[in-house]
């Protein structure tokens, strides 16, 4: 079982490469305005590879201008050799085939999992035991638990998929493994919703995406609503919920997941090699 660290910030990447992780995923998962410059990407790649760790490039969902930047980056990385690219946008998926050295991985934003929903109940209507069982069997599935969808992605070279730590969905993840996918399991934070009208930037009075000072690199907020009975976390243009990682679940996944992913995110104060190593130790204990 490998452990990767996900970050889009060079300072955090420096902490990650010094940690006990096996690979670093570099690049934003959610925000196209955090796509690094070409020079920064080169520097990040050299740093990671120089430390003998695996380099994985992460891409977000993107607009027209974003896809051009991603294209430029893919061209560069394709010259470096065989590299995995996490894809969260169908446009990026469309062009990845032009780069024979790059291997597509399906990012979380291309895998629909209803159970990312933060509400306690999965239906508003009081239902009986059998009806509830039926609903649960649908609700905890993923969009990959459909044979033609699996065939489609495998035909396009996808072998690895990113999923979230949602214990009720584990049986359906097992089915993906049986179909030949390698599972990359995100720890701690589950994305509940994302926006292009960045909630954090608007809350803090940022003027425009182009001039954004990226406060999300160091800040996060907790959002509480007592009527909805939820606690959520705001970081950048994403709203997360926290997931509880029990010992039992960890053991279950250690045998099944190909990769655990630790996101360097201020919402969980994951900002140093010490914290990364502590979490890796917990996973292995």
């Amino acid at each position: 079982m490998r452990v990767s660290v996900q970050t889009d910030d060079l300072n955090m990447l420096k902490e990650a490469v010094e940690s006990d992780c096996h690979a670093v995923r570099f690049g934003p998962e959610f925000c196209e305005w955090k796509i690094p410059s070409l020079d920064l990407l080169k520097e990040a790649y050299e740093l990671v590879v120089g430390e003998g760790k695996g380099f994985i490039y992460t891409t977000p969902f993107v607009s027209n201008s974003g896809i051009e930047r991603v294209r430029e980056h893919l061209t560069l990385l394709n010259q470096k050799g065989r590299i995995d690219v996490v894809i969260n946008d169908l446009g990026t998926f469309n062009i990845i085939g032009n780069y024979p050295n790059l291997r597509p991985r399906l990012g979380r934003q291309l895998v629909f999992i209803p159970a990312r929903c933060p509400w306690k109940e999965i239906t508003q209507t009081p239902v009986g035991f059998f009806e509830r069982r039926h609903l649960e069997r649908i609700f905890y599935q993923t969009s990959l638990n459909y044979t033609p969808t699996i065939r489609f992605y495998q035909k396009h070279g996808v072998e690895d998929v990113d999923v979230d730590w949602i214990p009720q969905s584990f049986p359906y993840y097992d089915s993906l493994i049986k179909h030949g996918f390698n599972l990359s399991m995100h720890l701690q934070l589950i994305p509940v919703t994302v926006t292009r009208r960045c909630h954090m930037a608007r809350f803090l009075g940022e003027r425009s995406p182009e001039s954004c000072t990226k406060p999300c690199n160091s800040q996060a907020f907790m959002l509480k609503n007592n009527l909805l009975k939820v606690e959520l976390f705001l970081n950048g243009n994403v709203i997360f919920r926290l997931t509880e990682m029990t010992q039992r679940d960890t053991e279950h996944l250690r045998k099944r997941a190909a990769e655990f992913i630790i996101s360097m995110n201020p919402a969980v104060k994951m900002n140093s090699r010490t914290r990364i190593n502590a979490l890796i130790k917990d996973l292995n204990s």
């Binding site: 607009s63 990026t92 609700f139 638990n145 292009r196 909630h199 709203i239």
Partner: protein, 355 residues
């Protein structure tokens, strides 16, 4: 080189695509000027599985769909079926296949699909109808739209969090037809990547000014480093947009093929009124009566009740907070002070809710 939107103004008139949920609805929106209608149909086997809309937003039976299609076709209007699920799993294959077959047999002209699995299923069924890629695909760039075109889609409906310039570029660099939403609750978040499902909690009935999605509710905001001290209690996620009347000339200029109105769950009267309004305004623009267009827009803002029986006009509910579709991405509507008239009405409506 990307053409400016105005150069496309005379290229084509976008089709107006209205939501319906009943036979009465199709009669009224066609009478109001819809070019196409779209609808869902209740799937009996999935009764309690609700993600975004309750079954009240859907045509209740396949027979009623048959009557809707007959009426629409008699009036030269196409009917598009929204295949409701944003995902597909093996256990849903049988019921979805049966559902699509029953709807296609009733004569629908197109399917709005939001998942690659459902697309595979439809192609496997050999169904011969137009295919529309839903906003669930989050199409925000021309490569994504062309990818969907290569898979067999005839049209793509774009994500709402975009600018006019981005839409225009996609239209010019895409191989398939492009459609956009123009009116109704434009989500605060990316439609296809949002899991704040619209279960009908009592809380949602109490949100401000008739907005009733979870993202419009106030949240207590805390710094994660100090969870004792509340910073604010505000609708921190609220970036909802709702209208594009003022943008219509620019949107037509982008060359999009269709304007879609949100609201399968809206009251029939609202579906009809919005359709009539947009029909009139599109016609004024395409006939070159720009001055009359702007006069009509201004009068509409002051008099149009945004959500009957809402007490707010369009001006009070949307314009004052600049809740325009395709507006600057970092605009913060909840920071804009309410006008005196809106504030007064809000106090009045709060009393009504409490009672």
């Amino acid at each position: 080189m990307i053409e400016s939107p105005s150069k496309n103004l005379e290229k084509r008139t976008p089709k107006l695509i209205s939501p319906i949920r009943s036979f009465e609805g199709v009669v009224r929106v066609i009478n109001a000027g819809a070019d196409k209608v779209y609808c869902g149909v209740r799937m009996p086997e999935m009764g309690h599985f609700v993600l975004y809309r309750g079954s009240y937003a859907e045509i209740p039976t396949y027979d009623e769909l048959g009557r809707v299609v007959k009426y629409a076709h008699d009036h030269g209007v196409e009917v598009l079926l929204t295949v409701n699920n944003p995902f597909m799993a093996d256990i849903m294959d049988g019921v979805t296949r049966r559902h699509i077959r029953l709807c296609v047999d009733r004569g629908v002209d197109g399917l709005i699909i939001g998942d690659l699995g459902i697309l595979s299923l439809v192609r496997d069924m050999g169904v011969d109808v137009q295919l529309y890629a839903s906003t669930y695909f989050t199409s925000m760039n021309y490569e994504a739209v062309n990818f969907l075109g290569n898979l067999g889609f005839d049209h793509a409906i774009l994500e709402r969090h975009m600018t006019i310039g981005e839409i225009s570029e996609i239209v010019q660099r895409s191989k398939i037809g492009v459609e956009v939403f123009v009116h109704g609750a434009g989500c605060s978040n990316i439609n296809g990547k949002c899991y704040l499902f619209h279960f009908h909690y009592p809380a949602l009935d109490r949100s401000v000014k008739g907005f009733c999605n979870p993202c419009n509710l106030p949240f207590e905001v805390y710094d994660v480093n100090d969870k004792e001290k509340m910073l604010e209690n505000i609708p921190a996620m609220d970036a909802l947009t709702g209208c594009s009347l003022c943008l219509l000339p620019d949107l037509i200029g982008t060359g999009v093929e269709g304007f879609k109105i949100v609201g399968r769950d809206a009251p029939t009267a609202l579906q009809e009124n919005i359709t009539r309004l947009y029909r009139e305004l599109i016609d004024l623009i395409t006939c070159g009566q720009i001055e009359a267009f702007w006069e009509r827009v201004e009068s509409t803002k002051r008099t149009f009740m945004a959500v009957p029986p809402s007490i707010f006009t369009l001006q009070e509910r949307l314009c004052e907070e600049k809740r325009c579709y395709y507006s600057p991405l970092f605009h913060t509507p909840y920071r804009i002070p309410l006008s005196l008239s809106a504030w007064t009405k809000l106090q009045f409506s709060s009393i009504m809710v409490e009672e």
